[in-house]
């Protein structure tokens, strides 16, 4: 900015300007802009420069300064301006020189306070520093200016006034932004409902938020600038916290801990469980500060404990109930076995003694009633075993055709009694299945006895096929009947515990309402599922899909099994479809899809 001239060197100094040693000072030091800095020409040559030379140098300096400068005379008429002034305010020298300052550019500098101040300087020879002015200028818009004025004392230029204009708009805006950010941050901190402390590296409190003062019932004076362990009669002097904070890591940049649980008796609030979290503040001047938040989780912990206790109690009660049911069923069956056995013996004897005509029908009724009762008890026992988690799988290979023959011969007497016809259809490649034989049989018997129960003088088809899906082999059993069928509402309820199609069904057809629930549970235990499609009044199709090789229950969840079955159902719907129910395992929810 200041190029070295051949005649004059320039000296910069802070504080009052001093005269050169040879006493050849021509120009008095001028105060330019920053009042503590003076710039004085130092003449190193013996010859005296001319006034013109000095004025040229002075104008050179003035022009080189990047802040606008004006020289005014005692009437506040502008005598000169520097280049920066013309550039910033976009005036020409014609528009500027010899004009009254307050008329400049349509009076944009006609600012009452400023004019008074300037006139005061002329009268008293005083000066002013950093007069802050916010004004909208046509050329540069709204600006914040710092004005500095000095009366120049130099003889030929007496009654001159130097006005330096510093644009501090950016600086003011940045300061305002910073202040807004600080307020914003403080508002956040104060609105946080968790007590919060900001500690310096010596663990003294720099500040706290409102929640801290309210919760621990302390004042700002009792808190700020105190060591954390001395706060509130040492209520924060907790050994674990002391150990944690005393750790040398507190001074490292990455120090932080999360959800450190402290149980402590605080005088103000009693015994509390508090979760402590810290973060190190690493931004700018706040480096080294530690934010410590305190979350009171006493109530939450208490509630969690209560939930655990309640859950355990509920599980125990449920297991007790299941165990009771299992024991009860066992006790009920012993006398039933005797009744059944004696009634069968009497039937045999009646035949031998040729008394069957007289007693046969009644003995048969006793026998049937007892068998029915046994079925009900067995269902309840199985159900309670599943509920108690005591039902295991016994996996073995067995021949499907033989198993189906056995199941068919078991159900055939019932089929004949209801004047139905049973059609058995087995794919020739059926082969064997690796599954729990008892459960497969029982599931199929449940479906078949339902079909027989709800069909009269109709057809019941019992079929099985081997299918491939997703690289796995499945055995698909279908029991189709031409019976009374099921309505949409009935289907939705079908697999619910103790639920039958309607309340009168139990009276008319018997059953616990557990048969299909058990069937479904058995199938799911083996990684498969059971689905139903039905048209009310026309009949039903129940389908059981099981993996050809059932894996141990733990290796395949019921959910995975049901998912696979759902996938396989999508491509196996035929014209019979009216409604499909896919039962979701673990939950008693059904999803009905109406095509």
């Amino acid at each position: 900015m200041l190029a070295s001239k051949s005649l004059i060197d320039w000296e910069f100094s802070f504080g009052p300007a001093k005269s050169p040693d040879d006493g050849t000072t021509i120009a008095r030091p001028r105060t330019v802009n920053c009042p503590s800095v003076t710039i004085a020409p130092v003449f190193t040559m013996s010859q005296k420069p001319s006034v013109e030379e000095i004025e040229t140098y002075a104008q050179g300096i003035v022009d080189a300064i990047r802040q606008p400068l004006l020289t005014l005379d005692s009437t506040l008429r502008i005598r000169s301006a520097n280049r920066a002034f013309y550039q910033v305010f976009q005036f020409s020298s014609e528009e500027t020189e010899n004009r009254l300052f307050y008329e400049l550019g349509n009076g944009q500098w006609d600012i009452a306070g400023l004019r008074t101040l300037l006139e005061d300087i002329i009268l008293t020879g005083s000066s002013f520093n950093d007069f802050e002015l916010e004004q909208t200028f046509p050329a540069v818009g709204s600006r914040v200016m710092l004005l500095n004025a000095r009366k120049l004392q130099t003889d030929p230029h007496s009654e001159r006034l130097l006005l330096a204009i510093e644009d501090v708009t950016q600086q003011r805006r940045a300061e305002a932004d910073l202040k807004a950010i600080q307020e914003y941050a403080q508002n956040i901190v104060d609105s946080v409902r968790e007590p919060l402390l900001i500690l310096d590296t010596t663990l003294h409190v720099q500040s706290a938020n409102c929640a801290f003062y309210q919760t621990f019932q302390v004042s700002r004076e009792e808190t700020e600038h105190r060591l954390i362990f001395e706060l509130g009669n040492g209520q924060w002097d907790i050994p674990v916290l002391r150990a944690l904070l005393a750790n040398e890591k507190t001074v490292s940049k990455s120090f932080a801990f999360s959800d450190f649980q402290v149980e402590h008796n605080f005088p103000a609030i009693g015994r509390r469980v508090i979760l402590l979290n810290t973060r190190k503040l690493q931004a700018g001047q706040h480096e080294g500060l530690l934010v410590l938040t305190m979350e009171d989780v006493t109530e939450r912990r208490r509630a969690e404990e209560e939930v655990v206790v309640a859950k355990e109690a509920a599980e125990t009660a449920n297991k007790t109930k299941s165990l009771f049911l299992a024991n009860m069923s066992h006790e009920l069956r012993t006398p039933l076995n005797a009744i059944l056995g004696y009634s069968e013996m009497l039937q045999e004897e009646a035949v031998e003694r040729k008394l069957a005509g007289e007693f046969g029908a009644d003995l048969e009724k006793i026998n049937e009633a007892v068998k029915h009762l046994l079925t009900l008890i067995n269902d309840i026992l199985d159900f309670s075993k599943i509920e108690a988690g005591k039902m295991d799988l016994y996996l073995e290979d067995f021949d499907l055709i033989q198993m189906m023959d056995d199941v068919a011969s078991t159900i055939r007497p019932m089929v004949e009694k209801t004047a139905n016809t049973l059609h058995l259809q087995r794919a020739p490649d059926l082969g064997t299945i690796h599954a729990d034989q008892l459960k497969v049989r029982q599931a199929l018997l449940n479906l078949l006895s339902n079909a027989v129960k709800f069909t009269h003088q109709g057809d019941i088809t019992f079929e099985a096929n081997r299918e491939s899906l997703n690289g796995r082999e499945w055995i698909v059993f279908r029991v189709t009947d031409t019976g009374i069928g099921l309505g949409p509402e009935q289907i939705v309820k079908l697999f619910r515990n103790y639920s039958q199609a309607n309340a009168s069904t139990t009276r008319n057809f018997g059953g616990t309402g557990l048969g299909l629930v058990l069937t479904r549970r058995y199938c799911q235990m083996m990684g498969g599922d059971v689905t139903v499609r039905s048209v009310f009044g026309q009949g039903s199709v129940f389908t059981i899909k099981l993996p050809a090789i059932v894996r141990e229950a733990k290796s395949q969840t019921a959910a995975e099994g049901a998912e696979a079955v759902m996938a396989s159902n999508r491509d196996s719907l035929d014209g019979y479809t009216a409604l499909r129910v896919v039962s979701l395992p673990e939950r008693e929810e059904k999803r009905a899809t109406y095509p």
Binding site: R333, T334, G341, M345
Partner: protein, 139 residues
């Protein structure tokens, strides 16, 4: 030596419930078996040694010494291990059957008894035993 099957095979029925014991023994006697009775596990062990039955029907859910333990002891004793045992359990689960077979039972049936079904199992075991003893005797 008599190489023919006994005219009246002797069956030991170990069953704690008096009514079931009476009912099942009478039904078996009507089918031509000689039936001896034991009301608990301990007497079941003693009767096996004293009566040398051709077959044992063992209720598994006996008080004190249960059917599984009685069977294990019978099968561990050279004097009694050849006697076939059919386990009778209330409403069989897969694990019941597995345990019964592990204890050494030769077969397994569930209560309530389906008599024709049980008789078929009894006959199968008796004829297998008779064949084995015939072979033994022939040597």
């Amino acid at each position: 030596l008599n190489t023919f099957p006994k005219a009246m095979p002797k069956i030991l029925l170990v069953e704690d419930n008096a009514m079931n014991r009476d009912m099942l023994s009478r039904r078996l006697e009507r089918k031509g078996y000689q039936v001896v009775l034991a009301p608990d596990g301990q007497s079941g062990l003693e009767m096996t040694r004293a009566q040398a039955p051709d077959l044992i029907l063992m209720d598994m859910g006996l008080p004190d010494l249960d059917g599984w333990e009685v069977t294990r002891r019978l099968k561990a004793d050279p004097a009694t291990r050849h006697v076939p045992v059919i386990a009778l359990t209330a409403h069989a689960t897969s694990s019941d059957r597995e345990e019964a077979l592990e204890a050494g039972c030769d077969d397994f049936d569930t209560k309530p008894i389906d008599l024709p079904h049980l008789l078929a199992k009894i006959e199968a075991l008796l004829s297998a035993g008779a064949m084995a003893s015939t072979v033994k005797t022939a040597r």
